[in-house]
């Protein structure tokens, strides 16, 4: 059996988690007895694949060894931004579970969860510029924090197109770039920039991460149909029930019979109508077709590798490509 991704890349998940904890532990304005501290700590301890910080650290390997440790700052900030966005997304999607545990707003309340997400980004930005190269790191961190606007536009897009079965493939890809792929591209390039890589290298790494990010989102779309609630740690079929138009749905709408069933759905449709539509999509060929598009984007990322011929860390990018190919 193949080793997990972090082991293949010789990255310690324990060290990443320690760094994430350190971000709150080193905030002298945050009381350890507070609900916020306990909530963020629990969120970190709940684990996860830590794909984003791993990608930032791999990006950092394209810089200089003297500055490699600065990629950790980018990795910490980006993972906090990701965790904060999940907290707010769970409220927006009215999702009671996250990785099998109660989501933060369900465990506390909506106001607490909103402020906790805000705190996490502000604190991570503050932390990323502590100790050394204060101005330079703050500038880099603020540039990353500015990406929130793009993530939000992706979310507005999703919100405005709930149960909008006229969404095209191009519109879906544009939304996916903003909502998911942009942050993954930024992980690769920010790690590289922090570690002092050339701008051209950082830009190519962005393209690489963005392509993998689209493949990742399509894979996530598929999980909604292929996994049980227990496996997902959240309700299965939640995307469709929330009216989020994902890639399998766009493909399903091309089939006359599936289209007829899907067009019956709206926010007040019955549980039986949703279940019937989900089962019909599962039995159709659209899941395989979606897998093929995810594979195409992973192969697009692979084609970018030729720009890094001869670089000792190209093998790490190959590991990422293999991981995403296997995942889809």
């Amino acid at each position: 059996m193949k080793k997990p991704l972090h082991e293949q890349l010789q990255i310690s998940l324990h060290e990443i988690n320690e760094m994430l904890l350190h971000i709150i532990q080193s905030d002298h304005e945050l009381q350890r007895s507070s609900v916020l501290y306990a909530s963020v700590e629990q969120l970190i301890m709940a684990g996860g694949k830590r794909l984003r910080p791993i990608m930032a650290l791999v990006g950092g390997r394209f810089g200089t060894s003297e500055r490699a440790h600065l990629a950790w700052k980018a990795a910490g900030l980006l993972e906090y931004m990701h965790m904060a966005s999940l907290i707010h997304d769970d409220i927006i999607d009215d999702s009671p579970l996250r990785r099998g545990e109660q989501s933060l707003h369900a465990a506390t309340d909506i106001g607490t969860a909103v402020h906790a997400g805000n705190y996490m980004i502000a604190r991570a930005l503050e932390w990323s510029s502590e100790d050394e190269l204060i101005d330079e790191n703050f500038y880099m961190g603020a540039e990353l924090a500015a990406l929130i606007t793009e993530l939000c536009v992706g979310e507005y897009d999703q919100l405005q197109h709930r149960f909008d079965f006229s969404m095209t493939l191009d519109e879906y890809l544009e939304k996916t770039k903003r909502k998911t792929a942009l942050l993954m591209g930024a992980c690769m390039s920010a790690g590289a920039r922090a570690a002092g890589a050339d701008e051209a290298v950082a830009n190519k790494l962005y393209e690489f991460g963005e392509a993998l990010g689209i493949a990742f989102q399509i894979h996530d779309d598929l999980l909604d149909f292929t996994c049980s609630s227990e496996q997902l740690g959240k309700p299965s079929g939640a995307d469709l029930r929330n009216g989020n138009i994902t890639l399998p749905i766009i493909y399903a709408l091309e089939d006359e019979e599936l289209r007829r069933q899907l067009l019956l759905l709206h926010r007040d449709a019955t549980e039986a109508q949703f279940n019937e539509a989900i089962e019909a999509v599962k039995k159709s060929a659209v899941l395989d077709r979606s897998r093929q598009l995810a594979e195409q984007y992973t192969l697009k990322a692979k084609s970018i590798l030729e720009n890094f011929e001869g670089h000792p860390s190209i093998k790490d990018l190959q590991v990422l490509v293999s991981y995403f190919l296997k995942a889809v």
């Binding site: 402020h115 906790a116 705190y119 502000a122 510029s129 500015a146 536009v153 919100l159």
Partner: protein
Amino acid sequence: MDKKLLLDTLDLVNELIHKQTNIELHADDRSLQELAEMIGSYCMTRSRKMTVLSCCMLISVGIRKHNHLLPDDKESLARSILDGDYLIGLIYRVAISRKEQKLLQKINPIYKRMQLQSLEGRGNEGFMTELKREIKDYLDQQSA
């Protein structure tokens, strides 16, 4: 009072806001008018004054969006959360693109502390006063 500074900045911010968000800011906030008056009194380019005031506007409205959530109205709740997130994110974008990152180093800690205060159940009444004090400090340093 330089009312034109406030109105021009408002136009600038509304132009910067992505159309898909449907957010439109208004100049009906007394504390923003006071900030505009203070910023307007400094000797610096009009463009810089507008950048500083833009960031104050965005943080003020962004915070208000997150402080007025309606949990029972899902649509409005989602919009308020996104609006607040977007407006706060836009502060970083505006300050970085206009080379005022040092201003962010002043604003970010106040914003963080305000989140902590909200989580402790304390009100944010002092926020605009603290923001005004930090902005004054920043402008004093910049124009020294």
